[in-house]
Symmetry: C2
Subunit: 210 residues, 2 copies
DNA sequence: GGTAAACTGGATAGTCAAATCCAGTTTTGG
DNA sequence: CCAAAACTGGATTTGACTATCCAGTTTACC
């Protein structure tokens, strides 16, 4: 009778149920961000979400399913949270604003935690194939958002034809992820700033002469 | 009576003892690379190293101390393993060889595991300050090796004076780390290649005109 | 108003890992 | 040769976590 909790089981859910489910996911996401997946126990999530133990297993088949929900949650969070910046990532001013916003966030966090998706990657990629796939998908969506802005710049003639938006967006995402990882290790945004700046300058190399 | 196992306890160690200690660290490093720190139990390490349980706690105060030894092991491994490439990272040909070697390694590993230091970072940074410091130090040594090559190019007039070796090396390390992380998630070296290529091109921007 | 879902709260089983301890054996280095 | 270190192999304590189950209560919705 346990609702499939995830699959096409199509168990009827009330609004209240969905809200509770979301509260569990949000709490788990926060804890996993702060302490990692292995460092987050279901009792921890239970307390943080303010629910009873049974509710967690009512909505999720097991911890692995909860973790996958967290990945989707973080992906959505990044894409909507950066929507304003990402949707208009189509000028050098916008790129620099985006860079500044990320550096500012990291600074405000005292360089703790790295990237919500990046941290999960190294912990899950090798022993949870479903999680790895979900993470890969999240990175792809994120990278594509950057690519679209660059494509826009190319279409509008801001960038020359020799610019490859897809490749540039991949490189930018690499610099971002690595910058966040190094920020976490070194408690400094120096590498993050250097990486993002270098990529923006690299993109500027393709700009049509003023 | 337990030897401090790490500190300035200055317990006399025989050659055989050091060899065994190293065998434990190497086995732990391999397992932690494959399964993560949390996914590696001391019984796992015991079996992989072919020693008795007591020996692990004979050489290391606890799992945390062993983990720190693993970080030092991996740092040394990277620096000596890439010594040939890193020590002469002072020309564009050398930079490209270095890039190719890294991509090749990742390809041979089927994009599994990411960076030995990077993986440890997101897992340990937030709840093991000593580990975080050791990781930061490892990244600094690695980045400095890159910086030295660039400084060489600058000193020899291959790069123009407006090149900032330190900043460029930081950006390169960010692209490398992010590229490896994305490779792990997406099982593709595309982002790694794009990131490193972009950085090499970025450095080439500072090259004196031919 | 009644059915189904949401929810509490705690008991519980089973597993596994960290770390300590010990009694005895082998190896080594001066 | 002999003392210290290296090492075996396993027993053991302690604790935490995953996951299940249940008996009963509250809330939502047609």
């Amino acid at each position: 009778m346990t609702p499939a909790a995830e699959g096409a089981g199509a168990t009827k859910r009330t609004t209240r149920g969905l809200v509770t489910r979301e509260r569990i996911v949000a709490a788990a996401a926060q804890l996993m961000f702060e302490r990692g997946v292995a460092g987050t126990s279901t009792p921890d999530v239970r307390d943080a979400a303010g629910v009873s133990s049974s509710q967690i297993y009512h909505y999720f088949a097991d911890k692995s399913a909860l973790t996958r929900a967290v990945i989707e949650f973080q992906t959505a969070r990044i894409l909507t949270g950066q929507r304003v910046l990402l949707s208009r990532l189509d000028s050098f001013a916008a790129l620099r604003d985006w860079r500044d916003a990320i550096v500012q966030i990291e600074h405000d966090l005292d360089c703790r935690g790295g990237c919500p998706l990046g941290s999960l990657t190294s912990e899950l990629a090798e022993h949870d194939p479903a999680a790895r796939t979900a993470l890969a998908e999240g990175f792809t969506l994120w990278t594509d958002a950057i690519r679209d802005g660059l494509q826009d710049m190319l279409d509008r003639g801001v960038l020359r034809d020799d610019a490859d938006p897809h490749r540039l967006s991949l490189a930018t995402m690499a610099a971002l992820q690595g910058g966040l990882l190094l920020a976490q290790a070194q408690r400094s945004t120096a590498a993050l700033e250097a990486g993002l700046d270098a990529m923006i300058e690299r993109i500027a190399f393709h700009a049509v002469a003023l």
